[in-house]
Amino acid sequence: MMRGRRWVAPVRIPARTPREHRAWAALRALGLGVLVGVMVIAVLGPLWPGSATAQAGLPYTAPGTDGVGLLGTDGIGRDVALRVLHGGARLVLVAAGATVFGIVAAILLGVVPALLFPRASGAVMRVVDAFGVMPGLLVLLLLAAAFPGDDLMLMVGVAVVSVPYSARVLRAAAREIAGAGYVEVARARGDRWWTVLLHDILPNLARPVAAETGLRFTTALHLSATAGFLGLGRGAPWPDWGLMVQENLPGIALNPWAVVVPSLLLVLLIVGVTVVADQVATRLGRERS
């Protein structure tokens, strides 16, 4: 029964026993639960009453001392627990806003020219690509120099960094769809261009756009957290998980919690979102890069 081709070294993918399967499912549920928990802290935390910038005690007091919050105080005596609650929302909002900005811009610069002006779209991509040359942090620092302390410009910066990647990926997807047989058929039977766009092209573009949005959200979170650490955007004295890590590093021996808790929350948030977005993207038919 040799059919000409192939004997490949047997790929041994060990089959999972039902027990292993259940263990993996439990682990996945646990991970998802942690991620949702961190998201809730980040987004709803600022609703907790109290001022995150007011002094609450002596500098760098470890938890357990009288009259000091759950996680002690930071370098100028502010309540760390309260600052943790108030310090995650900005990060998530900046990243989410930048993702939306970035995807819309990528559609305008990548997809629209590819569909409407296929000849000119290559030239547009060359210009967009030029921006991709700059390292992400360089873009953020440049904008911060021109517009200090501006969260909106930070958001724009994070979006600008993501556009070259997204535009390239979405343009490729749009070109593939526009050249597909069903589009040709629709054109040949005389459908109007906007009918083709609405019925044939856009519905098929939804999956790549969704996959790209998830992946860009992870990089946007990563970049916004780093920007916070560097004090870009709104900056001190406002609470921000990344900034807290930088501010409280000198007092790490006195109150380690002021560094450990924001770091841990950041890692859980970003790694969690990355893993979820990666899996969703793979399921939506996107290849790993």
Binding site: R6, W7, V8, A9, V11, R12, I13, R126, V127, D129, A130, F131, V133, M134, P135, G136, L137, L138, L141, L142, L143, A144, A145, A146, F147, P148, T218, H222, A225, T226, F229, L230, G231, G242, V245, Q246, L249, I252, A253, P256, V259, S263, L266, V267, I270, V271, T274, V275, D278, R288, S289
Partner: protein, 321 residues
């Protein structure tokens, strides 16, 4: 080699260089617009809110701000070509002098980190790609995804806390001897370099994994398997040579990114590199310094991109498409 092939190759190289030059020109215009045109009147900002209008006018004339933006851009660009990036209005130092002092420190930092990280990443990616879907692959892929996802500053802080604060093995702050270079005190270089290694490793491993997996499932590797070549010989003789060129491309791009991306590490260790200088210039609102450093860093990133491209295209004609 027929003249035809040669001319095709030469034309391709020239085209690449021309495109790179156009890209740099565009980026210089963007950098100038963001740092010079958008922020508004630099003279009023420097003079402060209480300055007399006459003083502001004199300062404006001194800084050459009474001329049009286009004129100033062309002058700046002309100076940059000759190696003159202007003089910082705040510290009074020529930008080119600061760059010449700080840039080598950053290049050495990124270079050493890459020399350590790239071979490890290539080896791990190769091992994973050869065993697609098996435990080795899952371990390497999982590690590199997680490591690349963790922000550099968290990784850096973790290293500082464990190796410096708790164990006290290495100094937490880089102290370059006055007028010397950071590597004159090698112990202080260890932590900054180690902080950049995980990211370099993760990115190289990920790229190498997908390249190697593609090659490992190709017909010629299958043929080698049928001849009885297995294990390390298969990986080193048949897969690696075909993966070298994409790896070089990735590493070249990574180098440019690492120099720009070492801002965080330089801040944490107070390492006297170009990234720290840029960050401080942003804090001081020293826009002349910012635009000069940004131009140099963007140029450097572009050069590493083009070098990777040229190497890939000259080694493998398929890349020249």
């Amino acid at each position: 080699m027929t003249p035809d092939v040669l001319s095709g190759r030469v034309r391709w190289v020239l085209g690449r260089l021309l495109l790179a030059a156009a890209t740099l020109l565009l980026l210089s215009a963007v950098i100038f617009t963001v740092t010079d045109v958008l922020p508004g009147d630099a003279a009023a900002r420097l003079a402060g809110p209480d300055a007399a209008p006459a003083d502001v006018a004199r300062l404006r004339a001194d800084l050459g701000l009474d001329r049009s933006a286009t004129q100033r851009y062309l002058e700046w660009l002309g100076g940059a070509v000759r190696g003159d990036l202007g003089v910082s209005a705040i510290s009074g130092r020529p930008v080119a002098e600061v760059v010449a002092e700080r840039l080598p420190n950053s290049v050495v930092l990124a270079g050493v980190a890459l020399v350590l990280a790239a071979p490890l990443g290539v080896a791990a990616g190769l091992a994973a790609g050869m065993r697609s879907g098996r435990p080795t692959d899952r371990a390497v892929t999982g590690t590199s995804v997680v490591v690349a996802a963790i922000p550099e500053f968290v990784m850096t802080v973790l290293l500082v806390v464990v190796l410096s604060t708790l164990l006290g093995w290495f100094p937490q702050v880089t102290t370059a001897p006055l007028g010397g270079r950071p590597w004159d005190a090698p112990a202080a270089m260890v932590l900054p370099v180690l902080s950049l290694v995980p990211l370099g490793f993760a990115l190289t491993a990920r790229m190498m994994r997908s390249t190697a997996a593609g090659i490992a499932s190709s017909r010629y590797v299958e043929a080698a398997r049928l001849r009885g070549v297995t294990g390390r010989a298969l990986a080193v003789r048949h897969v690696l040579p075909n993966a070298v060129q994409p790896a070089i491309q990735v590493i070249a791009v990574l180098f440019g990114g690492l120099i720009g991306g070492s801002v965080v590490v330089e801040l944490v260790f107070n390492y006297p590199g170009i990234g720290l200088e840029l960050q401080q210039a942003v804090g001081r609102q020293d826009l002349v310094m910012v635009q000069g450093i940004a131009l140099v860093l963007a140029g450097l990133a572009l050069v590493s991109l083009v070098v990777g491209d040229l190497v890939a295209g000259l080694v493998d004609p398929r890349e020249r498409g």
